[in-house]
Protein backbone atom coordinates (compact mmCIF):
# COMPACT_ATOMS: atom_id res chain seq x y z
CA UNK A 1 0.00 0.00 0.00
CA UNK A 2 2.80 2.33 1.02
CA UNK A 3 4.91 1.66 -2.03
CA UNK A 4 2.00 2.17 -4.36
CA UNK A 5 1.34 5.53 -2.74
CA UNK A 6 5.00 6.48 -3.11
CA UNK A 7 4.97 5.33 -6.72
CA UNK A 8 1.85 7.25 -7.41
CA UNK A 9 3.27 10.45 -5.92
CA UNK A 10 6.42 10.02 -8.03
CA UNK A 11 4.19 9.80 -11.10
CA UNK A 12 2.26 12.89 -10.03
CA UNK A 13 5.47 14.88 -9.51
CA UNK A 14 6.83 13.66 -12.83
CA UNK A 15 3.67 14.73 -14.60
CA UNK A 16 4.00 18.19 -13.11
CA UNK A 17 7.53 18.68 -14.43
CA UNK A 18 6.63 20.23 -17.83
CA UNK A 19 4.34 22.80 -16.20
CA UNK A 20 6.77 23.64 -13.43
CA UNK A 21 9.72 23.88 -15.84
CA UNK A 22 7.79 26.30 -18.05
CA UNK A 23 6.76 28.33 -15.03
CA UNK A 24 10.40 28.50 -13.97
CA UNK A 25 11.33 29.70 -17.48
CA UNK A 26 8.70 32.40 -17.17
CA UNK A 27 10.13 33.61 -13.86
CA UNK A 28 13.60 33.54 -15.41
CA UNK A 29 12.46 35.87 -18.18
CA UNK A 30 11.38 38.58 -15.71
CA UNK A 31 14.48 38.48 -13.50
CA UNK A 32 16.06 41.94 -13.66
CA UNK A 33 19.17 41.34 -15.72
CA UNK A 34 21.12 44.54 -16.05
CA UNK A 35 23.17 44.58 -19.20
CA UNK A 36 24.04 47.71 -21.14
CA UNK A 37 21.81 48.90 -24.00
CA UNK A 38 18.17 48.05 -24.64
CA UNK A 39 18.24 45.06 -22.31
CA UNK A 40 14.72 45.49 -21.00
CA UNK A 41 13.77 43.07 -23.75
CA UNK A 42 14.64 39.58 -22.57
CA UNK A 43 14.15 36.40 -24.58
CA UNK A 44 10.67 34.93 -24.10
CA UNK A 45 11.81 31.74 -22.36
CA UNK A 46 8.26 30.65 -21.49
CA UNK A 47 7.32 30.62 -25.19
CA UNK A 48 10.10 28.10 -25.86
CA UNK A 49 8.85 25.94 -22.99
CA UNK A 50 5.30 25.97 -24.35
CA UNK A 51 6.53 25.12 -27.84
CA UNK A 52 8.80 22.32 -26.63
CA UNK A 53 6.28 20.60 -24.39
CA UNK A 54 3.39 20.91 -26.81
CA UNK A 55 5.51 19.06 -29.37
CA UNK A 56 6.82 16.35 -27.03
CA UNK A 57 4.31 16.00 -24.20
CA UNK A 58 1.11 17.96 -24.85
CA UNK A 59 -0.64 15.55 -22.49
CA UNK A 60 1.52 16.73 -19.58
CA UNK A 61 1.25 20.40 -20.48
CA UNK A 62 -2.47 20.65 -21.25
CA UNK A 63 -4.02 23.61 -22.92
CA UNK A 64 -5.24 25.00 -19.60
CA UNK A 65 -1.63 25.07 -18.35
CA UNK A 66 -0.55 27.03 -21.45
CA UNK A 67 -3.36 29.48 -20.73
CA UNK A 68 -2.36 29.75 -17.06
CA UNK A 69 1.30 30.39 -17.86
CA UNK A 70 0.39 33.04 -20.44
CA UNK A 71 -1.93 34.71 -17.96
CA UNK A 72 0.80 34.65 -15.34
CA UNK A 73 3.13 36.39 -17.78
CA UNK A 74 0.49 39.05 -18.45
CA UNK A 75 0.05 39.61 -14.73
CA UNK A 76 3.78 39.82 -14.02
CA UNK A 77 4.54 42.12 -16.93
CA UNK A 78 1.66 44.51 -16.32
CA UNK A 79 0.67 44.31 -19.97
CA UNK A 80 -2.79 43.66 -21.42
CA UNK A 81 -4.34 40.82 -19.37
CA UNK A 82 -5.02 37.83 -21.60
CA UNK A 83 -2.69 38.83 -24.45
CA UNK A 84 0.00 36.20 -23.92
CA UNK A 85 -2.58 33.77 -22.57
CA UNK A 86 -4.19 33.85 -26.02
CA UNK A 87 -0.78 33.72 -27.73
CA UNK A 88 0.33 30.62 -25.84
CA UNK A 89 -3.04 28.96 -26.43
CA UNK A 90 -2.45 29.49 -30.14
CA UNK A 91 1.05 28.00 -29.98
CA UNK A 92 -0.19 25.01 -27.99
CA UNK A 93 -3.11 24.37 -30.32
CA UNK A 94 -1.04 24.55 -33.50
CA UNK A 95 1.91 22.56 -32.18
CA UNK A 96 -0.04 19.75 -30.56
CA UNK A 97 -1.98 19.47 -33.80
CA UNK A 98 1.20 19.35 -35.95
CA UNK A 99 3.40 17.52 -33.47
CA UNK A 100 3.62 14.28 -35.45
CA UNK A 101 5.54 16.19 -38.06
CA UNK A 102 8.25 17.14 -35.55
CA UNK A 103 8.61 14.16 -33.21
CA UNK A 104 11.60 12.04 -34.16
CA UNK A 105 12.91 14.54 -36.72
CA UNK A 106 16.28 16.28 -36.61
CA UNK A 107 16.66 19.20 -34.25
CA UNK A 108 17.03 21.58 -37.19
CA UNK A 109 13.47 20.76 -38.28
CA UNK A 110 12.16 21.58 -34.82
CA UNK A 111 14.11 24.84 -34.78
CA UNK A 112 12.85 25.69 -38.26
CA UNK A 113 9.31 25.04 -37.06
CA UNK A 114 9.90 27.48 -34.24
CA UNK A 115 11.32 30.03 -36.68
CA UNK A 116 8.26 29.68 -38.89
CA UNK A 117 5.88 30.06 -35.94
CA UNK A 118 7.44 33.10 -34.26
CA UNK A 119 6.84 35.86 -36.90
CA UNK A 120 3.07 35.35 -37.33
CA UNK A 121 2.70 34.90 -33.56
CA UNK A 122 4.43 38.18 -32.78
CA UNK A 123 2.60 39.94 -35.59
CA UNK A 124 -0.66 38.84 -33.96
CA UNK A 125 0.57 39.91 -30.50
CA UNK A 126 1.57 43.29 -31.90
CA UNK A 127 -1.79 43.71 -33.63
CA UNK A 128 -3.85 42.81 -30.57
CA UNK A 129 -1.57 44.92 -28.35
CA UNK A 130 -2.01 47.90 -30.67
CA UNK A 131 -5.79 47.45 -30.59
CA UNK A 132 -5.69 47.23 -26.79
CA UNK A 133 -3.73 50.45 -26.35
CA UNK A 134 -5.49 52.09 -29.33
CA UNK A 135 -2.21 53.22 -30.85
CA UNK A 136 0.44 51.87 -33.17
CA UNK A 137 3.00 50.16 -30.94
CA UNK A 138 6.70 50.28 -31.77
CA UNK A 139 7.76 47.28 -33.85
CA UNK A 140 11.48 47.34 -32.98
CA UNK A 141 11.40 45.66 -29.61
CA UNK A 142 9.08 42.88 -30.70
CA UNK A 143 11.39 42.22 -33.64
CA UNK A 144 14.38 41.99 -31.28
CA UNK A 145 12.43 39.68 -29.01
CA UNK A 146 11.66 37.40 -31.92
CA UNK A 147 15.34 37.24 -32.87
CA UNK A 148 16.33 36.57 -29.26
CA UNK A 149 13.77 33.77 -29.12
CA UNK A 150 15.35 32.11 -32.15
CA UNK A 151 18.87 32.58 -30.83
CA UNK A 152 18.14 31.15 -27.40
CA UNK A 153 15.95 28.29 -28.59
CA UNK A 154 18.73 25.65 -28.97
CA UNK A 155 20.11 26.28 -25.47
CA UNK A 156 16.73 26.18 -23.78
CA UNK A 157 15.54 23.07 -25.61
CA UNK A 158 18.83 21.37 -24.87
CA UNK A 159 18.20 21.96 -21.17
CA UNK A 160 14.57 20.85 -21.47
CA UNK A 161 15.66 17.75 -23.40
CA UNK A 162 18.08 16.85 -20.60
CA UNK A 163 15.35 17.40 -18.05
CA UNK A 164 13.00 15.20 -20.04
CA UNK A 165 15.58 12.42 -20.26
CA UNK A 166 16.43 12.67 -16.57
CA UNK A 167 12.79 12.53 -15.52
CA UNK A 168 12.02 9.87 -18.12
CA UNK A 169 8.92 11.66 -19.39
Amino acid sequence: MNTSLAERSVVVVRNLIPGLATLFLLLLSVVPLSTPNSALVLPPFALMGIYFWSVYRPDLLPIAAAFGIGLMQDILSGGPPGLFAAAYLGVHAVMSWQRRFFVGKAFAVEWLGFAVMVPPLYAAVWLVGSLYYLRVLPVGEIFIQGLLALAFYPAITWALGRLRAAARI
Binding site: L27, L28, S29, V30, V31, P32, L33, S34, T35, P36, N37, S38, A39, L40, V41, L42, P44, R57, D59, I63, A64, F67, G70, L71, M72, Q73, D74, I75, L76, S77, G78, G79, P80, P81, G82, L83, F84, A85, A86, L89, G90, A93, V125, W126, V128, G129, Y132, Y133, R135, L137, P138, E141, I142, Q145
Partner: protein, 292 residues
Protein backbone atom coordinates in the same frame (compact mmCIF):
# COMPACT_ATOMS: atom_id res chain seq x y z
CA UNK B 1 6.83 6.63 -24.88
CA UNK B 2 3.33 7.91 -24.79
CA UNK B 3 0.84 5.37 -23.50
CA UNK B 4 -2.36 5.20 -25.52
CA UNK B 5 -5.07 6.63 -23.35
CA UNK B 6 -8.14 5.41 -25.20
CA UNK B 7 -10.69 3.82 -22.98
CA UNK B 8 -12.18 0.40 -23.48
CA UNK B 9 -14.97 2.05 -25.42
CA UNK B 10 -13.95 3.20 -28.88
CA UNK B 11 -15.25 6.73 -28.29
CA UNK B 12 -12.35 7.61 -25.91
CA UNK B 13 -10.13 9.47 -28.33
CA UNK B 14 -12.77 11.37 -30.34
CA UNK B 15 -14.46 12.49 -27.14
CA UNK B 16 -11.16 13.63 -25.73
CA UNK B 17 -10.26 15.66 -28.79
CA UNK B 18 -13.74 17.14 -28.86
CA UNK B 19 -13.37 18.20 -25.25
CA UNK B 20 -9.96 19.68 -25.99
CA UNK B 21 -11.30 21.65 -28.89
CA UNK B 22 -14.08 22.92 -26.70
CA UNK B 23 -11.56 23.91 -24.02
CA UNK B 24 -9.47 25.75 -26.63
CA UNK B 25 -12.43 27.80 -27.85
CA UNK B 26 -13.50 28.48 -24.28
CA UNK B 27 -10.03 29.61 -23.14
CA UNK B 28 -9.44 31.82 -26.19
CA UNK B 29 -12.80 33.40 -25.47
CA UNK B 30 -11.70 33.88 -21.86
CA UNK B 31 -8.45 35.57 -22.95
CA UNK B 32 -10.26 38.12 -25.06
CA UNK B 33 -12.87 38.64 -22.38
CA UNK B 34 -10.02 39.39 -19.97
CA UNK B 35 -8.58 41.96 -22.35
CA UNK B 36 -11.93 43.69 -22.58
CA UNK B 37 -12.22 43.53 -18.79
CA UNK B 38 -8.71 45.00 -18.52
CA UNK B 39 -9.92 48.05 -20.43
CA UNK B 40 -13.31 48.40 -18.80
CA UNK B 41 -12.90 47.38 -15.17
CA UNK B 42 -9.35 48.30 -14.24
CA UNK B 43 -9.99 48.05 -10.49
CA UNK B 44 -10.79 44.32 -10.52
CA UNK B 45 -7.85 43.53 -12.78
CA UNK B 46 -5.56 45.58 -10.56
CA UNK B 47 -6.74 43.78 -7.42
CA UNK B 48 -6.12 40.39 -9.03
CA UNK B 49 -2.71 41.51 -10.25
CA UNK B 50 -1.55 42.77 -6.90
CA UNK B 51 -2.77 39.55 -5.27
CA UNK B 52 -0.69 37.42 -7.64
CA UNK B 53 2.26 39.82 -7.34
CA UNK B 54 2.26 39.33 -3.58
CA UNK B 55 2.33 35.56 -3.94
CA UNK B 56 5.05 35.46 -6.63
CA UNK B 57 7.00 38.38 -5.15
CA UNK B 58 8.99 36.37 -2.57
CA UNK B 59 9.94 33.78 -5.23
CA UNK B 60 11.16 36.53 -7.56
CA UNK B 61 12.98 38.15 -4.67
CA UNK B 62 14.96 34.96 -4.08
CA UNK B 63 15.53 34.36 -7.82
CA UNK B 64 16.76 37.89 -8.44
CA UNK B 65 19.39 37.80 -5.69
CA UNK B 66 22.01 35.63 -7.40
CA UNK B 67 21.45 37.55 -10.64
CA UNK B 68 21.97 40.82 -8.81
CA UNK B 69 25.13 39.43 -7.22
CA UNK B 70 26.45 38.38 -10.64
CA UNK B 71 25.62 41.82 -12.03
CA UNK B 72 27.52 43.45 -9.21
CA UNK B 73 30.52 41.18 -9.83
CA UNK B 74 30.55 42.11 -13.52
CA UNK B 75 30.29 45.79 -12.62
CA UNK B 76 33.15 45.36 -10.15
CA UNK B 77 35.42 43.86 -12.79
CA UNK B 78 34.53 46.63 -15.20
CA UNK B 79 35.25 49.23 -12.53
CA UNK B 80 38.69 47.77 -11.87
CA UNK B 81 39.44 47.77 -15.59
CA UNK B 82 38.64 51.43 -15.98
CA UNK B 83 40.00 52.55 -12.63
CA UNK B 84 42.64 54.87 -14.01
CA UNK B 85 40.38 56.67 -16.49
CA UNK B 86 37.70 56.94 -13.83
CA UNK B 87 40.14 58.48 -11.38
CA UNK B 88 41.14 61.08 -13.93
CA UNK B 89 37.51 61.89 -14.67
CA UNK B 90 36.61 62.18 -11.01
CA UNK B 91 39.56 64.49 -10.33
CA UNK B 92 38.36 66.83 -13.06
CA UNK B 93 34.82 66.62 -11.81
CA UNK B 94 35.90 67.23 -8.23
CA UNK B 95 37.73 70.36 -9.22
CA UNK B 96 34.67 71.65 -11.00
CA UNK B 97 32.35 70.70 -8.16
CA UNK B 98 34.50 72.44 -5.56
CA UNK B 99 34.00 75.66 -7.47
CA UNK B 100 30.29 74.98 -7.57
CA UNK B 101 30.32 74.30 -3.84
CA UNK B 102 31.56 77.79 -3.13
CA UNK B 103 28.82 79.22 -5.32
CA UNK B 104 26.20 76.97 -3.71
CA UNK B 105 27.26 77.93 -0.17
CA UNK B 106 26.99 81.61 -0.97
CA UNK B 107 23.60 81.11 -2.60
CA UNK B 108 22.32 79.03 0.28
CA UNK B 109 23.24 81.73 2.77
CA UNK B 110 21.62 84.35 0.57
CA UNK B 111 18.54 82.15 0.15
CA UNK B 112 18.15 81.65 3.90
CA UNK B 113 18.49 85.37 4.48
CA UNK B 114 15.92 86.21 1.82
CA UNK B 115 13.50 83.54 3.02
CA UNK B 116 13.67 84.90 6.52
CA UNK B 117 13.10 88.39 5.20
CA UNK B 118 9.96 87.27 3.35
CA UNK B 119 8.78 84.71 5.94
CA UNK B 120 8.48 81.96 3.33
CA UNK B 121 6.63 78.83 4.46
CA UNK B 122 9.27 76.08 4.69
CA UNK B 123 8.74 73.10 2.38
CA UNK B 124 8.01 69.80 4.04
CA UNK B 125 10.81 67.29 3.63
CA UNK B 126 9.41 64.06 2.20
CA UNK B 127 10.43 60.72 3.69
CA UNK B 128 11.12 57.66 1.58
CA UNK B 129 11.05 53.86 1.46
CA UNK B 130 13.99 52.01 -0.09
CA UNK B 131 13.16 48.93 -2.16
CA UNK B 132 14.92 46.41 -4.37
CA UNK B 133 13.88 45.67 -7.96
CA UNK B 134 12.78 42.04 -8.13
CA UNK B 135 11.42 41.81 -11.67
CA UNK B 136 11.50 43.49 -15.06
CA UNK B 137 8.38 43.52 -17.19
CA UNK B 138 9.86 40.78 -19.38
CA UNK B 139 7.32 41.53 -22.10
CA UNK B 140 7.20 43.90 -25.03
CA UNK B 141 5.14 47.15 -24.94
CA UNK B 142 5.58 47.57 -21.19
CA UNK B 143 8.19 49.46 -19.21
CA UNK B 144 7.51 48.53 -15.61
CA UNK B 145 9.44 46.95 -12.75
CA UNK B 146 8.35 45.19 -9.57
CA UNK B 147 9.94 46.10 -6.25
CA UNK B 148 9.82 44.32 -2.91
CA UNK B 149 8.03 46.96 -0.83
CA UNK B 150 4.29 47.43 -0.59
CA UNK B 151 1.34 48.80 1.28
CA UNK B 152 2.63 47.62 4.65
CA UNK B 153 5.77 49.72 4.11
CA UNK B 154 3.73 52.83 3.45
CA UNK B 155 3.83 52.73 -0.35
CA UNK B 156 0.77 54.28 -1.99
CA UNK B 157 -0.41 54.62 -5.56
CA UNK B 158 0.92 57.66 -7.38
CA UNK B 159 4.06 58.13 -5.32
CA UNK B 160 7.21 59.11 -7.17
CA UNK B 161 10.13 56.70 -7.40
CA UNK B 162 13.75 57.82 -7.63
CA UNK B 163 17.26 56.55 -7.30
CA UNK B 164 20.45 58.50 -6.62
CA UNK B 165 20.51 59.89 -10.17
CA UNK B 166 16.96 61.12 -10.61
CA UNK B 167 13.34 60.20 -11.26
CA UNK B 168 12.69 56.55 -12.16
CA UNK B 169 8.90 56.52 -12.45
CA UNK B 170 5.77 56.34 -10.40
CA UNK B 171 3.85 53.76 -8.41
CA UNK B 172 0.89 52.32 -10.35
CA UNK B 173 -0.07 49.16 -8.46
CA UNK B 174 0.45 48.44 -4.80
CA UNK B 175 0.25 45.00 -3.23
CA UNK B 176 0.81 44.18 0.39
CA UNK B 177 4.48 43.31 -0.10
CA UNK B 178 5.20 44.33 -3.69
CA UNK B 179 4.71 47.33 -5.93
CA UNK B 180 4.65 47.92 -9.66
CA UNK B 181 6.47 50.99 -10.91
CA UNK B 182 5.69 52.57 -14.26
CA UNK B 183 9.00 53.83 -15.66
CA UNK B 184 9.14 57.32 -17.17
CA UNK B 185 9.82 55.72 -20.57
CA UNK B 186 6.58 53.69 -20.62
CA UNK B 187 3.94 54.41 -23.23
CA UNK B 188 1.47 55.42 -20.53
CA UNK B 189 3.77 57.67 -18.52
CA UNK B 190 2.96 61.41 -18.43
CA UNK B 191 4.90 63.71 -16.11
CA UNK B 192 4.54 67.50 -15.75
CA UNK B 193 8.00 68.97 -16.20
CA UNK B 194 9.81 72.26 -15.93
CA UNK B 195 12.81 73.34 -17.96
CA UNK B 196 15.12 74.99 -15.44
CA UNK B 197 17.01 76.95 -18.07
CA UNK B 198 14.18 78.36 -20.17
CA UNK B 199 11.54 78.35 -17.44
CA UNK B 200 9.02 76.57 -19.69
CA UNK B 201 6.57 73.95 -18.48
CA UNK B 202 5.42 70.91 -20.40
CA UNK B 203 4.60 67.22 -20.26
CA UNK B 204 7.10 64.41 -20.57
CA UNK B 205 5.41 61.60 -22.51
CA UNK B 206 6.97 58.13 -22.66
CA UNK B 207 6.89 56.11 -25.89
CA UNK B 208 8.74 52.92 -24.83
CA UNK B 209 11.93 54.35 -26.29
CA UNK B 210 14.96 55.29 -24.22
CA UNK B 211 14.33 59.05 -24.43
CA UNK B 212 10.76 60.22 -23.77
CA UNK B 213 9.42 63.17 -25.76
CA UNK B 214 8.44 66.62 -24.51
CA UNK B 215 5.01 67.84 -25.44
CA UNK B 216 2.59 70.65 -24.66
CA UNK B 217 5.40 73.15 -24.59
CA UNK B 218 4.34 76.71 -25.32
CA UNK B 219 7.36 77.30 -27.52
CA UNK B 220 9.48 74.29 -28.44
CA UNK B 221 12.24 76.34 -29.97
CA UNK B 222 13.28 77.69 -26.60
CA UNK B 223 14.06 74.32 -25.08
CA UNK B 224 17.65 73.84 -26.13
CA UNK B 225 19.59 70.58 -26.07
CA UNK B 226 21.50 70.36 -22.81
CA UNK B 227 18.81 72.09 -20.72
CA UNK B 228 18.10 70.48 -17.36
CA UNK B 229 14.59 69.05 -17.04
CA UNK B 230 13.02 68.62 -13.59
CA UNK B 231 9.53 67.82 -12.27
CA UNK B 232 7.26 70.85 -12.16
CA UNK B 233 5.07 69.62 -9.32
CA UNK B 234 1.94 70.48 -11.29
CA UNK B 235 -1.03 68.26 -10.62
CA UNK B 236 0.30 67.61 -7.13
CA UNK B 237 1.49 64.06 -7.81
CA UNK B 238 5.19 64.78 -7.80
CA UNK B 239 7.19 67.13 -5.60
CA UNK B 240 8.72 70.02 -7.46
CA UNK B 241 12.28 70.13 -8.79
CA UNK B 242 13.22 66.45 -8.90
CA UNK B 243 15.86 65.89 -11.59
CA UNK B 244 14.64 63.93 -14.63
CA UNK B 245 17.18 64.38 -17.40
CA UNK B 246 18.79 66.46 -20.09
CA UNK B 247 16.99 67.81 -23.15
CA UNK B 248 18.19 66.45 -26.48
CA UNK B 249 17.01 67.05 -30.04
CA UNK B 250 16.27 64.07 -32.25
CA UNK B 251 14.47 64.12 -35.60
CA UNK B 252 13.33 67.66 -35.01
CA UNK B 253 11.69 66.71 -31.74
CA UNK B 254 12.74 67.69 -28.24
CA UNK B 255 13.37 64.63 -26.11
CA UNK B 256 14.76 64.03 -22.66
CA UNK B 257 17.63 61.68 -21.90
CA UNK B 258 16.97 60.47 -18.34
CA UNK B 259 19.71 60.81 -15.73
CA UNK B 260 18.79 57.36 -14.48
CA UNK B 261 20.05 54.32 -16.35
CA UNK B 262 16.73 52.49 -16.46
CA UNK B 263 18.41 49.30 -17.66
CA UNK B 264 20.40 49.00 -14.46
CA UNK B 265 17.98 49.52 -11.65
CA UNK B 266 18.70 47.71 -8.45
CA UNK B 267 17.65 49.82 -5.50
CA UNK B 268 15.08 52.59 -5.71
CA UNK B 269 13.54 55.09 -3.32
CA UNK B 270 9.79 55.54 -3.16
CA UNK B 271 9.10 59.07 -1.99
CA UNK B 272 6.29 59.48 0.52
CA UNK B 273 5.12 62.88 -0.47
CA UNK B 274 2.00 64.61 0.69
CA UNK B 275 0.53 67.49 -1.19
CA UNK B 276 1.16 70.56 0.99
CA UNK B 277 -2.39 71.82 0.42
CA UNK B 278 -3.92 68.58 1.59
CA UNK B 279 -1.67 68.15 4.62
CA UNK B 280 -3.40 69.03 7.87
CA UNK B 281 -2.79 72.61 8.88
CA UNK B 282 -0.04 72.42 11.43
CA UNK B 283 3.04 74.14 12.62
CA UNK B 284 3.72 76.15 9.44
CA UNK B 285 0.66 78.31 9.92
CA UNK B 286 1.90 80.54 12.75
CA UNK B 287 5.04 81.37 10.76
CA UNK B 288 2.94 82.62 7.87
CA UNK B 289 0.65 84.48 10.23
CA UNK B 290 3.62 86.39 11.60
CA UNK B 291 4.20 87.98 8.21
CA UNK B 292 3.58 91.68 8.24
Amino acid sequence: MRAPRSSVLGIGIPLRSLLQRFALVLLIGASFALMVLGRVDTATVERTRTGVMDVVGPVLDVLSRPVAAANRAVAEVRDIMFLRAELERLRDENERLLQWQTVARRMEAENVALRQLLSVVPETMPSFVAARVIADSGAPFVRTVLVNAGHRDGVRKGQVVMNEDGVVGRVVEVGERSTRILLITDLNSRIPIFDEDSGLRGILAGDNGDSPALSFLPNQAQVLPGNRIVTSGHGGLFPQGLPIGVATARDGQIRVRPYVDLHRLEYVRIIRYELPLLAPAGEERPVAADAP
